[in-house]
């Protein structure tokens, strides 16, 4: 009974379905990149959609070539993409916050404002963190307050 199944056709069908779903995710994230109003919302759309779409396309390719070496390479690419995409998004988002990229006008900013106030206070408290070092270099007496 099992000999009647054409395994090549089964693999082709599974690969077709996975590739179509993955391409749909890629198209969705690209439209999100083009239409969303704000840098941060765009970045979120890309990081989720493109990573999932790429993973599905590569998995479809690995299932189509029925070989362990190819599947291992595909799994390596998927693991690497899933590791590096959030890290890159985090670093770019921090850079954008530091460079004062504007937010969307309807973003809820209460928590971020609280965080900024706290950070400003911390900077005000220890704004000259090399005070003791400079005093020691110039030969003055160093007081014990850290």
């Amino acid at each position: 009974m099992e000999s009647n199944i054409d395994w090549l056709q089964v693999r082709e069908i599974i690969s077709c379905v996975l590739i179509l779903i993955g391409v749909g995710f890629m198209l969705t994230s690209t439209i999100g990149l083009l239409k969303f109003p704000d840098f941060y919302i765009r970045m979120s759309a890309i990081t989720k959609g493109a990573t999932l779409g790429l993973g599905l396309i590569l998995l479809g390719m690995g299932i189509y070539f029925d070989e362990p070496g190819t599947l291992l390479k595909v799994l390596a690419i998927i693991a690497f993409t899933f590791l590096t995409a959030p890290v890159a998004a985090h670093v770019i988002g921090r850079t954008a916050v530091q460079n004062n990229i504007p937010f969307w006008h309807r973003t809820n900013m209460t928590e971020f404002d609280k965080y900024l106030t706290q950070e400003h206070l911390n900077q005000y408290i220890n704004h000259d963190r090399y005070k003791n070092v400079k005093a020691a270099e110039s030969g003055d007496a160093v007081d014990g307050s850290e």
Partner: protein, 89 residues
């Protein structure tokens, strides 16, 4: 032309359309981080196109190209964002 080849052609066309739309965002992006994330998406699209091209030609050597490209895309975006952090300090 079998259904499998039709599916691969449709996927190739849609990914090329994605590449064009990303290039539009790369051109009109109001700030530099917008262009960096557009570059990130371009790299992801090109990796997908390489995967589908590998299925078209049955030549499995192209998968190594995809591995190298995913490495260098990550390095590129990280390098650009650190450069932006440096010049605005």
């Amino acid at each position: 032309m079998s259904a499998f080849e039709v599916t691969l052609t449709i996927a190739m066309v849609v990914l090329s359309l994605c590449l064009v739309l990303t290039a539009i965002r790369f051109a009109i992006g109001p700030s530099l981080p917008d262009r960096i994330i557009a570059f990130d998406l371009i790299v992801a699209n090109v990796i997908g196109i390489i995967a589908i091209y590998t299925e078209f030609t049955n030549n499995q050597n192209f998968i190594d190209v995809a591995i190298i490209l995913s490495l260098f895309g990550f390095l590129g975006s990280i390098t650009f964002s650190y450069y932006l952090m440096r010049i605005n300090k």
